[in-house]
Amino acid sequence: MTVYILCFILFLVGLYGAITRRNLVKIVISLSVMEFSVFLFLALIGYVEGGSAPIIDPAKPDALYVDPLPQAMVLTAIVIGLATTAMLMSVIIRIYRKYKTLDIREIKNLRG
């Protein structure tokens, strides 16, 4: 159960960063930390003690495998996480070119 709690603390660290930081790059870092903790949580749920990697070995028909379903889901989620990170980063670079700052307070003050 310790692992689940630690995984959750990692999520909370990311949440704290996303709420309290004022720098756009740090907000993106916090979001990806939250993402990573969710991936790890799903991989932890699928783990079976003594199981082997889910690759079928014809020589051992009775082998115990870890759960392949969460792994397939996480595989999809990892790639989508990369897509969102790339998108956010390109938006950030446009914002910096226009406003010369990454601080969200100053960008908010420039409005109007």
Binding site: F11, L15, L40, A43, L44, V48, P54, P68, M87, S90
Partner: protein
């Protein structure tokens, strides 16, 4: 196994805390790399080689992207004492964390203990999956055969993101 994963998780938490509080944005990005590559080791320990391969590639690409953005903009994050809004934000963060911890406490009661999960649904995928899909790797079988449309949707999202990045980076600012 649980001890090894916990140890790496502690390192990942330390890396994440440093990444959030670092003054230099470049070191913050590199510490984010600690979290990502620690995740790769965790995946290997949890017997998920496919995830480890994908994660190491993705982490490298996103690290390169972040370093490129930081080098192209500014490295310094000027330190300012939290103002009134800052204290409100910190209070909100702590409150949200408390509420989520409470619900985690409720949820862990109905969860299987670590390493003793039963393969409720995966049983049908494992038994005879190799014969149905022709793939010895069960994860590949699920991703590309049983859930093929899901993967098609994922590819669509990826293409949309690439198109979006190209569009955003090509536009000229209006005067």
């Amino acid at each position: 196994m649980e001890a090894a994963v916990s140890l790496i998780l502690v390192f990942m938490i330390l890396g994440a805390v440093f990444a959030i509080h670092a003054r230099d944005l470049l070191s913050a990005v590199i510490s984010c790399g600690i979290v990502g590559y620690g995740l790769v080791i965790c995946f290997l320990l949890l017997k998920a080689p496919d995830l480890a391969i994908v994660q190491i590639v993705v982490e490298t690409i996103s690290l390169v992207l972040m370093v490129a953005v930081v080098l192209d903009s500014t490295r310094q994050e000027p330190f300012t004492l939290p103002d009134k809004q800052g204290y409100v934000n910190i209070a909100t963060a702590v409150l949200t964390a408390g509420v989520i911890l409470y619900f985690l406490n409720l949820a862990t009661g109905s969860m299987d203990a670590f390493g003793e999960g039963s393969l409720r649904m995966a049983e049908h995928y494992i038994n005879g999956a190799a014969a149905k899909t022709g793939s010895a790797n069960l994860v590949t079988g699920v991703v590309f055969d049983f859930r093929g449309y899901d993967t098609l949707g994922e590819a669509t999202v990826l293409v949309t993101a690439v198109l979006g990045v190209i569009t955003i980076l090509r536009i000229r600012g209006k005067k």
